[in-house]
Each structure stands twice: as C-alpha cells, then as structure tokens.
C-alpha cells in the first residue's frame, strides 16, 4: 500500500517569507526526499574535493623542491637540470609581462565592445556582434597558437616591428632583434584570447546598471558618451575591475597558444622582441622531459604557484563581480 505523501502543513513560513525560503522549508520532510538531497549533495561535494585534491597533489609533489630551494625559488633565475638548480624568476616575470601586455591591448577593445553593445549599437546589431565576439572564446587555444606561428608572427615581422623600431627603438622595450617567437607575439595572442571573457562579463555588468543612472545624466544635459563616462562606468566600476581581473586570471594560466609563440627561453629581458617563458609554458614543454625527481618537483612547484595565483586572482574577480550582479553566473555564457 502506498501512503500519501506527507503534505507539508506545519512549519511553513507564510505571509512575508519569500517564495524561495518557503520552497527551502518544504525540503527534507520525506525519506525519499532526504535521499535525493543526499545524492545531489554528493555531486556537489565533488567541487570542494576537487580544489582540495588539486592543491594537495601539487603541494605534496612539490615538497622536495619547496624544501630544497625555499623562497629563493621565486627570485633566482638559474634553471639548470644538469646541476639540479632551479629558480623560476624568468617564468614568473614572463607570465606577468605577457599577461599585462595582453591586458593593455585587450581591456580597451573589450570595454569598447561592452559599451557598444549596451549603450550605442542599434538593437538589431547587438545580438550578432555579441555572438561574433563570443565565438572568439570558442576557438581552441592550440588553433590560436598555430595562427600565431603562421600568420601573426610573419605579419608582425613585416608590418609592425619595423615602424615600432623606427619610432621607439631607443627605449629598452623595443631593443634588439625581433626573433619572431617573442613576448610581443605572446602578448598579442593572449590579448585576442581574453577579449571575449572581459567583454562578456563587462557587458553583463553594464546591463546591470539601472537605466535611471543614464537617464539622470542625460537629463542633466550630458551627451551619450558623457552619460556613459560619468554615470554608467563609475556605477559598474567594481564589476568592470572584476571583469579585467578575470581576464588576467585567464591570461596567467593560458598554456598552448603562449607556448607556441613566446619562444620558451629562460631569460628576463625588457625587450618585447625577445623570447620569454611563462609558467604554464614551462610545464607544457618540460614536464615530459623531466627525468629526475627534483626536476619534476620543481615543475610541480611552478604548477603550485600558478594554481594558487590563479585561484586568488579568480576569487578576487568573483567577489568584485558578485558585488555588482548579485550571485548571477555572470560570464558563464562566454565559457
């Protein structure tokens, strides 16, 4: 005999309680419901376990290197598998340099796309342009890398580097011979890759700005651009900074495309024309060659640093974005 389901009668918040809390309070009165909830909780537990496992494995595997080199790993630049001496400074420098170069190029482009799509573009144009920019996120990293090797680098060599050299050749940033595979190529590829992420999140942030903000500025006699600059952008500032930091997180951890165009040389140089190295590229390149335990451990430590840095960067970005767009999965469309 099947019993009637326990109809919820008691303990239901009524009146002013929101629908959401009412739904929550209805849960957990029935045995099958408790089982259902436990199963789902099990799935949800996968995520915290994942982050713990990732950190744990990286930490344990990098213990030998951590013990041997200590903090000097971060600031010394010898990387000598024969002598078993490892310092990651050049990769850390290269990762930061290429990522900031990428931000320098990508932020104006991405913010322009976001502003255009929310403020200026006619309605019929918004959907197609948003779709095209989102497509940039769909291109696989390795395809970007290949395009960089065969199209971007030859283009830079013939059309971009000579004028840059003629005008800025005296600065340390544009000195020396252009190698092709270089910080410049890596930065530009990264910039193209992170534009869709920054653009998508910025767009959602700008959409969350109340229309009254714009109307107020326009009513004060502002032009449309002035309204954007003085009312819309300041209102969404935290979220926009979050979007940029999110892009930074992507750039820091990007592997394939960068590995293919940055030159992979353990060297710290200010010139954008010289080859450089990033942490992700070092792992991709050298992990399978790492024959000794210490070598492997040093690469795991590079991975650990990369993981911790990206987790912190992403956490900051998320907190900033959540402050503007409360709890919504902003930017998930761009994934």
């Amino acid at each position: 005999m099947t019993s009637l389901p326990n109809l919820p009668i008691e303990g239901i918040p009524s009146g002013r309680a929101s629908r959401e809390t009412r739904w929550q309070s209805l849960i957990g009165t029935d045995r099958s419901d408790r089982i259902y909830r436990r199963i789902l909780t099990g799935f949800a537990l996968a995520l915290p376990s994942l982050i713990v496992i990732l950190f744990g494995v990286l930490f344990v595997e990098s213990l030998p290197a951590l013990k041997r080199f200590g903090p000097s790993f971060l600031v010394t630049s010898t990387w000598d598998p024969v002598a078993e001496v490892y310092g990651a400074a050049p990769m850390i420098f290269g990762t930061l340099a290429s990522s900031f170069l990428a931000l320098l190029i990508a932020v104006p482009l991405a913010l322009s796309v976001a502003i255009l799509l929310t403020e200026f573009a006619p309605r019929w144009l918004r959907q197609p342009v948003a779709f095209l920019v989102e497509l940039l996120a769909a291109i696989p990293s390795v395809v970007y890398g290949m395009w960089g090797i065969f199209v971007l680098i030859p283009f830079l060599r013939s059309f971009v580097v000579p004028p840059l050299k003629a005008v800025f050749g005296w600065t340390p940033f544009f000195k020396g011979v252009f190698y092709g595979n270089s910080l410049l190529a890596g930065g530009i590829i990264l910039a193209i890759m992170i534009v869709p992420y920054i653009a998508a999140v910025s767009r959602e942030v700008l959409l969350a700005v109340p229309t009254s903000q714009r109307e107020a500025a326009l009513a004060m006699g502002a032009t449309r651009w002035e309204a954007v600059r003085s009312a819309v952008l300041p209102y969404g500032r935290a979220g926009l900074i979050g979007a940029v930091i999110l892009g930074l997180g992507r750039a820091l951890g990007e592997t394939m495309a960068v590995t293919m165009v940055i030159g992979n040389r353990h060297d710290i140089g200010l010139s954008l024309f010289q080859p450089a190295y990033t942490m992700a590229a070092a792992i991709a390149n050298e992990f399978s060659e790492a024959t000794t335990n210490m070598y492997l451990s040093a690469l795991f430590e590079v991975g650990l640093i990369l993981f911790v840095v990206t987790v912190v960067v992403n956490a900051i970005a998320r907190i900033l974005i959540w402050r503007v767009a409360k709890g919504a999965a902003v930017g998930s469309k761009a994934l």
Binding site: F43, F120, V143, R250, F287, G303, A315
Partner: protein, 268 residues
C-alpha cells in the same frame, strides 16, 4: 570617443574574421576523403590523413563527457535546489574559481593520479582530466538554467501531492532540460578543443587506436605536434585539422544555440 569605441569593437570582430578566414583559406584545400579515412604516414612523406585523431577526439571527449556530465549537472541541480545556504555558497564560489584554473595544472594532476600509478599514458586518463575541466562549468550553467524555472511550477506539483524529489526531477529538471543540454553541448565543445590537459595523459598516438588503456591521438594534440614541427606537409595537415576541429566546435555551439531557441525563442 564614440568613434574610438566603434573602431576598437571593429578590431575585436576583425580578429575573429581573420582567424576564421585563414583557417578556411589554408585548410579547406587539404580536406579530402583520405584526410578523414587514413592514418598519418611517416614524417617527410606526403599524403595520409588524421582518421586516428578524429576517432580519438570522439572517444576521449565522449568518455570525458560521460564522466563529467552527471557530476556537473548533479552539482548544478544541488546549487539550484538546495544551494541557498552556506555550503551552497561555498560550492558556487569554488565552481567559479575552478572555472579559471589553468588546464595545464589539471593535466599534471591527472598525470599524478592516473598515469603514474598505472604506468602508462592512456585515453582514459585524458578523459578524466577533461571531465575535471568540465564539471565546474556545467555546475554553474545547469544552476543558472534550473533557476529560470518559475516557482509556481514547483508549487503546483507539490500541491498535487508530488514528493519533492519527483518534482525536482520530473517537473523542474524536465522544464530546464533544453537549457541543461545547451550547457552540456557548450561544455563538450570547450573540452574538444583542449590540448594542455591531454599532453601528459592521452599523450597522442601516431597510429590508429581504439583502446582506452593506450595513448590516444586527438585533433588538438595533432595540431600542436604538426604546427610546431618542421615539415610543410605537417603544416598543411595542421591547418586542415584545425579547420575540422573549429568546425566541430562551431557545430556544437550552433546546435546548443538552436536547442535553446527551440524553447526560449518564442518567449523573447
């Protein structure tokens, strides 16, 4: 300033057009029947195809989705149905943070867990790494889609005497199904293009292989090897493989959009 905004936006779109244009211009001419049906020939010879990589992509990505989809969607259902408490907040936050984790890091952790103890590279290890990459993303998109289901539907089902779990599965998840499917397709499209997590797990394989216990080639690995290699013939195949991979990703994204439109198109 408005002009500058338009120019910059144009530049962003131009980048996409250029990349897709180059792919078609360089890759389309190399795509023929042999490309899809033959395995690679030894370096230096011309001819051959990437049948092994196409099949390998299907197997590794399919297995990855098989592992990742239930966990990701389940976690997303949890977030949508029970996720308003502190634990839900934590899970949501971790999902967002994991979404930005460098895929190469997941690759070396996958190596530590699956390749090192088993003593060999395998398609299975690659699939698990891809699944890990997919889970946080699916959790968030599923949650978002399930949250769109109106509360009145739940209340109606409960009022008719449905237990909560059946309401959740039969009514709520069913209503959000097309959205969840879209999320899965987008997730699959994303892992199909991934290379970094496979470098030290699936490794790549120049021969045709169907065994999930052996190294396996994927299109992305093939492009990496061929594009960075020295032979013109390899470069030609790399362009063609990139075009095929891009086509695959685009088709998945388009189908995803189409599925969503079936349901939500009329509401807009």
């Amino acid at each position: 300033m408005t002009g500058l905004v338009v120019i910059f936006s144009f530049l962003a779109v131009l980048a996409l057009v250029l990349i897709l244009g180059n792919l078609i211009a360089e890759g389309a001419s190399s795509i023929d029947w042999a490309f899809f049906t033959k395995s690679p020939v030894p370096a230096g010879q011309s001819g051959g195809g990437v049948a092994n990589a196409i099949v390998g992509t299907g197997i590794v990505v399919g297995l990855g989705a098989l592992i990742g989809v239930p966990i990701g969607v389940g976690a997303g259902m949890y977030l949508a149905e029970y996720g308003s408490g502190r634990f839900g907040f934590l899970v949501r936050f971790i999902a967002d943070v994991l979404n930005g984790t460098p895929s190469i890091v997941i690759g070396i952790v996958g190596w530590t867990f699956l390749v090192k103890p088993m003593g060999r590279f395998s398609a299975l290890a690659g699939a698990v790494s891809l699944a890990i990459l997919m889970i946080p993303m699916l959790a968030r998109t599923t949650e978002e889609m399930v949250r769109l289901v109106p509360h009145s539907l739940r209340e109606a089902a409960l009022a008719l005497g449905y237990p909560r779990w059946r309401t959740s599965l039969r009514i709520v998840a069913r209503t959000a199904l097309s959205g969840i499917v879209t999320g899965c397709l987008v997730g699959i499209a994303r892992i199909a293009g991934e290379t970094a997590p496979l470098l030290f797990t699936a490794l790549g394989n120049l021969n045709f292989s169907l065994s999930v216990n052996q190294p396996m080639q994927t299109l992305s690995l093939q492009i990496y090897v061929y594009a960075t290699g020295p032979f013109d013939e390899w470069h030609r195949l790399a362009w063609a493989s990139a075009l095929v991979l891009m086509g695959l990703v685009l088709i998945l994204s388009m189908v995803a959009r189409w599925v969503t439109r079936q349901r939500y198109g009329s509401i807009r």
